[in-house]
Symmetry: C2
Subunit: 160 residues, 2 copies
């Protein structure tokens, strides 16, 4: 295995660990528990479910490796904070979006070669990327891995 | 810059971003706010401060790049959950441990060559490492980056 492949494997292993932990957490929460806030006055778990589904659904176009499936989530879960939108999609719809977004994304990520991971993502121009080659697709994956960890830490506070 | 150097730079950039965010958060919390729980019945911010200082202090010996400074934190903040130990070190002591542990660690991390990051850490035998070269020092840094993100997400819930 060459160095590029090794680094991609390390980052994908970290990503998959966090993703599994979060999926296990959402699966462990009942529909009633999804309506709880992670702390008084803070986001409800259902909002974080929709937010995470939307963020992961957006990753394929961001990385330039495919289309997304659920753009309708963005106005509710990206542009708006929790409780700003009166009626959320139901829990079954959001649980399905989380599962489907990650299933498609896993396939899309698997299509990238080791070299492809070190190429630019779509928010970087060729000119910017030439100046800063560290801002490649793999850096997006690492950033999103920490994004999962951040909200996973909050979801762990939900009382069961 | 070769591929190894690029990958190390990416992981260190992600680490430093999370570290700065957490330091800014602890600095923004008053001593009174440090006594608040992140959610009802959950860890107090002061426990997370001691926990994070202990975890980062342990990283140099784990990585095999130096000594630690604050082993006295472990029985309180690693082996025990919050509220199990009646009297915690005072906030000034813990704020100082967080700052000193990270200052030393930053210097120790800076001493590693790009190649050194891809070598084994002290919890791996040569035999295990030969089977799984992805479990190297850099994988520890990536894991600890997500560890910061997880508790940072919780500290963000403290009311100010």
């Amino acid at each position: 295995m060459d160095q590029q492949q090794l680094m991609v494997q390390m980052a994908l292993t970290a990503w998959n660990q966090q993703l599994k932990r979060m999926t296990d957490t959402f699966n462990s929460l009942s529909d009633e528990q999804l309506m709880q806030e992670v702390a008084p006055g803070k986001n409800r778990a259902i909002y974080l479910l929709g937010h995470m589904a939307a963020v992961h659904d957006r990753m394929a176009p961001l990385l330039g490796i495919g289309e997304r499936q659920f753009p309708e989530l963005d106005p509710i879960f990206i542009s708006s904070p929790d409780k700003a939108v009166a009626t959320l999609p139901d829990t079954a719809t959001l649980r399905n979006a989380w599962a489907q977004a990650n299933e498609a994304l896993t396939n899309q990520l698997g299509s990238l070669s080791a070299e492809g991971w070190f190429q630019r993502h779509t928010q970087m121009t060729d000119e910017d990327f030439a100046k800063d080659p560290a801002r490649n697709r793999l850096s997006v994956l690492m950033s999103r891995t920490s994004h999962i960890a951040s909200h996973q830490g909050q979801l762990a506070l939900i009382k069961k």
